[in-house]
Symmetry: C2
Subunit: 380 residues, 2 copies
Amino acid sequence: MKLPLGFQAGAVRAGIKPSGNPDLALLHAEAPLAWAYVATTNRAAAPCVLRGRALLASEAPLRALVVNAGNANAATGEAGVAADLRMAELAAERLGVRPDEVLTASTGVIGVPLPVDRIATALPALVLGPDADSFAEAILTTDTRTKLAEATLPGGARVVGVAKGSGMIHPNMATMFGFLFTDARVDQTELRARWPEVVRGTFNQVTVDGDTSTNDMAAIFASGLAGQVSPGLFWDAVAAVARDLARQIAADGEGATKLISVRVVGAASLADARRAARAVAGSLLWKAAVYGNDPNWGRILAALGYSGALLDAGRVRIELEGIPLYDGAPLPFDHEVAVRAMQKAEVRVLADLRQGDYEAEAWGSDLTEGYVRINAEYTT
Amino acid sequence: MKLPLGFQAGAVRAGIKPSGNPDLALLHAEAPLAWAYVATTNRAAAPCVLRGRALLASEAPLRALVVNAGNANAATGEAGVAADLRMAELAAERLGVRPDEVLTASTGVIGVPLPVDRIATALPALVLGPDADSFAEAILTTDTRTKLAEATLPGGARVVGVAKGSGMIHPNMATMFGFLFTDARVDQTELRARWPEVVRGTFNQVTVDGDTSTNDMAAIFASGLAGQVSPGLFWDAVAAVARDLARQIAADGEGATKLISVRVVGAASLADARRAARAVAGSLLWKAAVYGNDPNWGRILAALGYSGALLDAGRVRIELEGIPLYDGAPLPFDHEVAVRAMQKAEVRVLADLRQGDYEAEAWGSDLTEGYVRINAEYTT
């Protein structure tokens, strides 16, 4: 997938991932980038997140993004802070920009020193080009596929997004990375005013395992080279790309065989709609039921009930793949038909709380023996 | 295990559990019982919980407790409310007490009408006696063993507890029941003032899968027949019995092979200590690591970090089975020794947040392929 105007990217093998796959990704902009950034709420946030927040506070534009996968450089003490800064300096040197113009991101194992020397050795061999694909591949960890999405605005400006997900995915800000690049001209103030709300409705509505990573981040970068765009159309495009990536992350959750999509309508507030949808998407019991093709709607109702959203079980309505299962009381339904309806790559739940006019979506993955195996046998 | 003075209990097969095991339990007190009660925060709470709360609000004493297992009578609409009341009436008739002196509790499948006629048929055959064992057995669902605990105070007053934990018969939540019975003379006002705090530190610190049931309840009943006791010694005994039951529930979580015990010290507040301990005990990634004997302390630190508790990753200290793994930065440790230390029925984590003087415990179970199978491969 081509990057928008003004961006170049590339990747190389630095030997950080044990697999030997490409693990160091670099993005470079020919001109200063307006940007916005949301990162994990985890109090054990990694040095890259602490540094990213400091860069954000400076209000200065960026010129580059360097990402390594295979090592989160989290819980690595003072040495980790130094390693993160060194990664920025090495990227800056390679590109001829200043270190404080380079955003860093790390994902992978926690608590192991980041081998910055390998980054130093590998960077000179990294070749930049107009495609996002090698970048998207190098940032993956246990993901089974790359995650890319795009939208084109009238006039030709584009929004391109890349993401990684897989495990430790429960953004409040998962380790989840979501990076969006656009050549639309958007003021940094506007980017920062509206990006967090896009993230709340998309990346933050994904849950794989309820574990909020130390390294999550979602950022958007604008080169401005394609000129002005309609703000309405622009933000719709950004939300669509972010939503597409969020769904790809959930569908590729560790061990997942299915995407679970939950849509809650009729909530008393937007926050209620979001927490209710997230609770269902994240319920272990519902996730296991989806894996087993069990139309066990009691687990959906229970999750709605403990979500914290205002509701009355006597008024809630639940549909699974368009089949009404509960409407204030259990509805009769054909069990075999419902089981068959669940045998697909995406299983959709619709819940109407009948409390108000707000709605939201959330996405999760089914819980499988594969998830347990991946996470029980993963060795540091 | 003998019940305290003034209590009798018994159980019978009513045909609610598909297994045909005893599934209807009855407790009777010869004199009015002071009592206290804490129930689920789930907004889709079952009729038994709604009724229990109403009885609690009346401040009146109780004379009996009737429990069925195999059917939660939750999400059953108005018919469910009537069935719950009918269960109380049937028990009252059997015992010669009033229906509003009978607390009800149901656990099992959600969304299926409770077959009250079977309860009516079975109750006459139920024999009451001085032992808690048949009661403790009949309230189980997918639990693999009965859960009983006791403490004796100087002077002979006793506290006896029975509990059930994660169960699943058709859909199900990890519905938890904790019932404590004592013959100590304790004022109902005092019982109600202090019982919720005991529950917060014990039953509420257990997590199996993060799914809060529609039917959870923890109650204590005092007959007073053994006379006055020292309040300090009494509450210590109650907390010890509740803690013992909480640990039994966690150890017998669905598919569990190990108990995970987490102790957090040095927290800035009691609430922080509890949420930090719960986050580690409930982390899917840590639960899977425990199953796999992987001393992956980064997952512990990440869970502490997202728990909401105040902390600084640069000051946290983590020990696993007494082995220091992290102290503001990774510590060198013998990986093979740590792996071997994890190969036991209880795996203990100690985390010092170094923020204050508060501490708490929490308990969970490891995440296994068995959990997934139990909850995905149920067959109707």
